[in-house]
């Protein structure tokens, strides 16, 4: 791979991964704040309103970082991927333009009311503002997932003069089957991140023996919603996505499973290190027949291995793709296990006394970020060597006149600025946590 292409790819990967750290918490927390506001309204329990006010403070810091790191994403389609934009902009420009018009305006208008307008709008009005912010963030997520889904599984297009890709059906762009499943899977992943944040901070306050009333509410909402979301992430949304990949992108499937050779009954790899040149997994721990079952619903039907496909159609970083997929699945399984135990103790009314599970909740807080990132890495690295699956290679989508020197200059700039943003974000959120819910709720009144 030439240097400029590698740098353009790395810059996009880095900026979108960093951006998505904030986005996933927004997707989850926006919904949870809405849930808290709804419970407060329905049960007429002011305590849930106070909980919402505390989380809105954290949401504000996180949302600001999401907004400022989001602006470069839209720009980079043009700056770094100009050939892709020139030829496919008439299609994916729709979803990106609609995102601006339908969601950014909605969010930016009502975020201010959600943060500072509780007295101005009254109980129901303020509940409405939190709903608007939540809906805006999910709609924005849908339109971006639809954009990605079209790159994964292009539909509703034809090729026009000069290789330009022309839209022929707006409906199949918007309601691409791929987009619908990927969206639900993605949103649930965000909810898991939000729930682990909420439950983990609840556990943190239990250990510190402060804000106990808040801690109990955080644990209750975080564990309950989190368990439901963690199960739905795996089944049916994750499972269905796997089947879509098997049907439409069999090479990606073989690569992410580390499946090199075709066999009548294909085993699934739980552990092992891919040796791409030798076409095998080292130190494998395999379960026979399971891959066949997942793909075909049949234990003995063959699943094609990588060696059945031409080498120039293989993704270019198979080991990382394989690990990303296995990390996502492994962590997802851990989340379901831990949250099930927490839910059991919660139901018995003993969660706040079960130190081991509280420790697990505190320590697991960063891991949904890892799982969500690994999931996106699986989707996008598995799409390689295509920028639009089967239509345009990534190497053909890059800006031809932006040199590797210019690309490295801006990559270093982003690395520097984003390091600063990361430290600022951690520092400000830690400060809010240390001040505690009571302080925040009083200051906000």
């Amino acid at each position: 791979m030439d240097t400029a292409l590698a740098l353009h790819r790395f810059q996009f990967a880095f900026t979108i991964t960093f951006h998505y750290l904030f986005v996933q918490l927004t997707l989850g927390l926006g919904f949870l704040i809405f849930v808290l506001k709804t419970v407060a309204l329905v049960k007429k329990d002011e305590h849930y309103n106070e909980c919402a006010r505390f989380w809105a403070r954290i949401f504000a810091v996180n949302f600001a970082l999401g907004v400022v790191t989001g602006i470069p994403m839209e720009f980079q389609f043009g700056t770094n991927w100009s050939r892709f934009s020139r030829d496919a902009g008439a299609v994916i420009g729709h979803t990106l333009a609609m995102e601006g018009l339908y969601t950014f305006f909605l969010e930016s208008t009502f975020l201010g009311f959600m943060l500072y307008g509780e007295q101005m709008l009254g109980r129901v009005g303020h509940w409405g503002a939190s709903a608007a912010v939540w809906i805006g963030s999910w709609m924005s997520g849908y339109l971006i997932v639809a954009t990605d889904a079209w790159m994964q599984h292009p539909t509703g297009y034809r090729i026009g003069a000069g290789g330009k890709i022309l839209l022929t059906s707006w409906w199949s762009l918007i309601f691409n089957e791929w987009a619908v499943w990927q969206f639900v899977h993605t949103i649930l992943g965000g909810i898991v991140t939000g729930c682990f944040a909420m439950a983990g901070i609840g556990a943190f306050y239990v250990f510190l023996k402060r804000s106990e009333k808040y801690a109990r509410a955080f644990l209750g909402v975080g564990v309950t919603v989190g368990l439901i979301a963690a199960i739905l992430v795996a089944f049916p949304t994750g499972d269905t996505q796997g089947k879509l990949v098997a049907r439409n992108q069999p090479i990606k499937l073989a690569a992410m499973e580390g499946h090199f050779t075709t066999e009548p009954s294909s085993a699934i790899a739980i552990l092992g290190q891919p040796d791409v040149n030798a076409h095998k997994l080292d130190n494998p721990f395999m379960v026979p027949g399971v891959l066949s079952f997942i793909v075909h619903g049949n234990w003995t039907k063959e699943v094609k291995g990588l060696t059945d496909y031409p080498r120039d159609l293989w993704p270019d970083n198979i080991p990382l793709l394989y690990y990303a997929f296995h990390i996502m699945v492994g962590l997802g399984t851990v989340f379901i296990g831990v949250l099930s135990l927490c839910a059991l103790q919660l139901w018995r009314g003993k969660l706040a006394e079960t130190k081991l599970l509280l420790w697990a909740l505190v320590l697991l807080m960063p891991l949904p970020y890892v799982a969500n990132t690994a999931g996106w890495m699986t989707a996008e690295m598995g799409r390689q060597p295509w920028i639009i699956y089967g239509l345009m290679r990534t190497a053909d989508g890059v800006s031809p006149h932006v040199s590797s020197g210019s690309a490295l200059f801006t990559l270093l700039g982003f690395l520097g600025i984003y390091t600063l943003l990361f430290m600022l974000g951690l520092f400000l959120i830690w400060r809010i946590l240390e001040q505690g819910p009571e302080h925040v709720v009083e200051a906000g009144e």
Binding site: A64, L101, T109
Partner: protein, 347 residues
């Protein structure tokens, strides 16, 4: 026909962006000289706090509309202006963080630091945007694929080998700086009281004088550098309505300012900005990005646009969307109308 309609929609969205985000960028530019104490600076921030983010969304929404309606222009311009656009992104990031994080902590180190970041980023953004407009008027070295790449500067001469910055585009950058300074000072004047308002008035008067002088100089320079401008106005004299609107706005802003009609002075400044931008668009049309070499390589409304099917569908989702946006803006500007005070939450 559809490409022309979308050309007008994108032009209007960009103009709305400059008018709306222009006043909060301008408030940032003048903040350090009109507001002396931390409390006064907070008042300036509160005057734009509830609306700046929504104003900036016009840049993203306008950019999105440009992307889908004129993909070839988006691709060519964004990759050709690679370095300055990336710097614009960094400035937008720093400015957004400064506004949102300044009041998270109040102490003698944190607050003034973010005030200075806010002012510097606002001023530099105005200069960058102005220089970008200057590049569109002057033209860029497009090749047969309608692609180009420009270094930041070469010899500062607006000839064939010009960089992004030459004496002409720097001049337009400074012009934009003073135009938004005036616009921002008139906004602060409208939203505040007492000494802060008095200082905003003084700054507005100085900025107005600079804007008037720059209007004359930049107009002469533009017509001498881009002959197409004169040709456009000669071909269709009706186009003179745009510069006349601009001049009316310029005259109105100082007249109303001196008569203490603060709202009208601000609206006149909006009119001035819209008049100047539409004059440029009219003068450059039908190019959207002229070539400064072979005129056949210019990007035009016709050769940069997406096909009709997509543009037609776009109208169908654009109309309901823009009605919603108008409703949001009416709601938020009504709720936050009147003078700002230090009481209550917010920025």
């Amino acid at each position: 026909m559809l490409p022309i309609i979308w050309f007008c929609i994108v032009a209007v969205m960009v103009a709305i962006y400059v008018v709306l985000d222009g006043f909060d960028l301008g408030a940032g530019i003048v903040q350090l000289c009109v507001a002396r104490t931390a409390a006064e600076r907070r008042l300036v921030l509160k005057s734009i706090g509830p609306v700046w983010d929504g104003n900036e969304v016009w840049l993203l929404a306008g950019g999105g509309a440009l992307y889908f309606a004129f993909p070839a222009l988006y691709a060519s311009a964004f990759s050709g202006f690679y370095l300055p656009l990336m710097m614009v992104l960094w400035l937008l990031i720093l400015r957004g963080i400064a506004i949102e994080f300044r009041n998270q902590i109040s102490n003698a180190l944190w607050t003034p630091f973010w005030d200075v970041v806010f002012a510097l980023a606002s001023g530099l953004l105005a200069i960058f945007f102005g220089a970008a407009l200057g590049n569109v008027v002057r033209g860029v070295p497009l090749d047969a694929n309608h692609e180009f790449f420009l270094p930041l500067w070469t010899n500062f001469l607006p000839g064939k080998d010009a960089g992004i910055l030459d004496w002409y585009t720097v001049l337009v950058g400074l012009f934009a700086f003073f135009t938004l300074a005036l616009h921002g000072a008139l906004w602060v004047n409208l939203k505040t009281e007492g000494e802060l308002q008095q200082r905003a008035r003084r700054v507005a008067r100085v900025a107005w004088a600079a804007v008037a002088a720059f209007t004359l100089i930049v107009t002469i320079a533009s017509f001498s550098i881009q002959p197409h401008l004169a040709a456009s106005f000669a071909a269709l004299p009706l186009g003179f309505v745009f510069p006349i609107l601009a001049l009316a706005g310029l005259a109105g802003s100082i007249t109303f300012l001196l008569r203490r009609k603060d709202g009208s002075a601000f609206l006149a400044s909006c009119l001035y900005i819209v008049g100047m931008l539409t004059s440029v668009v009219f003068g450059v049309f039908p190019s959207v990005l002229p070539s400064n070499g072979d005129p056949n390589f210019s990007l035009t409304v016709a050769n940069a646009s997406a096909p009709d099917y997509g543009l037609g569908v776009g109208i169908a989702w654009f109309l309901p969307g823009i009605v919603l946006v108008a409703a949001y803006f009416t709601f938020v500007y009504r709720k936050f109308s009147g003078k700002v005070s230090l009481e209550g939450g917010g920025h």
